[in-house]
Point group: C2
Chain length 382, copies 2
Amino acid sequence: MLQAMRTSQFDQSMTRLDLGVGQPGFDLLPWDKLAQAAAHLLPQNDTALLNYGLEAGDAFFRQELAAFLTPRYGYDLTAVDLFITAGASSALDLICTLFTQPGDLVLVEEPTYFLALRLFADHGLRVRGVPLEKDGLNLAVLEELLYEEKPALLYTVPTFQNPTGITLSATKRRKLAELAEAHGFLIVADEVYHLLDYTAVPPAPLAALVPEGAPVLSIGSFSKIFAPGVRLGWVTAGSRYLEKLAGSGLLDSGGGLNPFMSGLLRSALQTGLAQAHLAWLKEVYGRRTAVLTAALREFLPAGFAFDQPEGGFFVWVRGPEEMDTAVLLPAAHSAEVGYQLGHKFSAAGGQANCMRLSFAFYKEESLREGARRLGRVLDNRA
Amino acid sequence: MLQAMRTSQFDQSMTRLDLGVGQPGFDLLPWDKLAQAAAHLLPQNDTALLNYGLEAGDAFFRQELAAFLTPRYGYDLTAVDLFITAGASSALDLICTLFTQPGDLVLVEEPTYFLALRLFADHGLRVRGVPLEKDGLNLAVLEELLYEEKPALLYTVPTFQNPTGITLSATKRRKLAELAEAHGFLIVADEVYHLLDYTAVPPAPLAALVPEGAPVLSIGSFSKIFAPGVRLGWVTAGSRYLEKLAGSGLLDSGGGLNPFMSGLLRSALQTGLAQAHLAWLKEVYGRRTAVLTAALREFLPAGFAFDQPEGGFFVWVRGPEEMDTAVLLPAAHSAEVGYQLGHKFSAAGGQANCMRLSFAFYKEESLREGARRLGRVLDNRA
């Protein structure tokens, strides 16, 4: 029983191919690299990493992280631009605590990352969705909405969005920042997929508007580019926002959010292990994307469509308007295949004809087999 | 500059002996033991620790932790009784998010742990203090208060309290649980000092009332018994409370709060390293308590009093009623000694004549010298 309780309910050896699982496959987790990082760190006797750390995070780690991000984000970052978190969810939770009150309105993409909706609910926040277009948020709808509502913040996954894979265009990024400035709301940009580009380089992250004073809090994480279990991420934002995070009661009491793990990742960056892992992940995920999408083109029946993702973890499949992917799920499970229900990603009760698939968890042959099974289930639907 | 930004502003090599620092000395941090734990863990290739973990925490770690706590808490615990946190502050923050609404009342001890007050403020909570007696909370005052107020929760450090060192008696523990039951509030018991007894074994923790169905959430942590930088702790409580914690949006999205560090501490427990470190800490802290309190008895002028702590980190010194320790602090700093201001620990603007000292950070000779300097400052006060 304990073994079954180890991690999640997901297991690569199971017969069912659950393409809904949106986490890295166990074969992609860098145990050896972490062991090498430990071999680099442990002789250092750096006991500072075992005490209450600086609220914003170990400065040497932030320095390494800033050097890592500078070429990848496309502008100069230094240690003081970064606040270390225990992952993106930890960041979003802290932001909700400090920058919202229950009853406040949060705008999200429609569809959006479903677990962010859970987090907003825990903080008593109201949520409204803004539709997505091929190039990201529909800003015309957003502008109209801003005449009637005063949101506290807008939550977006601007690059390789979860669940759609859509990327917000450079023009819209700038326009969105202007709207936030004009209407006095914060943009919380969940940029955890930004570094996972496979076939097209995305526009500069929303983080890049921070030096210009845009009201953006940009969330990054090692979960997607190294390993979720390290529970380490970062926020970059204007100094007044970072100071609010670092000055919170949680940080004042607990110190930095994960000092010892920060030391391990500092070593992983200093030795190039983290960079090498990211480069390898991009190759593997790139191939998996190609395999899954090729198989979907082969096996999905008429009436089903998706946009080719250029990065990230996900493929968003849209079925005929009248279809409900929830109704079909038992048949899918009988055929030993699974997916995430589209409606989970909707703040408005929509998206029922959609499903989210991921190419992160399974190897290429399983992805193809999963797509084959899914195609058969969709073919045979009533 | 970065070096100065490493951890906290506190440094054992500084001239000033700041007896207000309430964290372990750098000489007490178990770097070698953590390296040994890593040598035990890393050959295991346990990649589950690098993925999103089970929300309640790795079950094998919880199993080890339950075995560790069972003799020390004095009742049988198993893995399912434990929810793993990223330290006590992380636990308290999550409890506030899930079990309170802004405007709710939190009862605290008067005086109480000052950084908990910060955390409650971030969650928009009202706070009222209940005076402490020699055997803990004044329950007569609490009962009266409960006729006029309906608190959401009562926050207590029942054993070797921060800042006073006071321990709630066994009788009062039971009575407090009855009051909570009768008046429908939660007891949040911050029991992080429970295992640090030096001269007297405390009553069973409030956690021990959980199996009887008491509305207690008991918070524990490795910060005081191993190292703050590992950011690992636990909550034990009735299953309906644990399910609420594990089912929160934060956990649903982020997985377990610190999976890889849980693996390291699992190894530290399995190899006996954590137990050995705790035993050693108790010896060291016991000696430091004796040295600091002996020096205070020698050097404090008439009119100053404290109760001999039997465990924990702190000595609470009470000065003459009319004195204000804030007024005296510049003189103390000129004499290269420091303390925590009493009023910080008050939810009611009181305790100005008090100061919190800690024997955790400095070695014995520094503690004695600090007490000597402090005595001289108090002697010479206007």
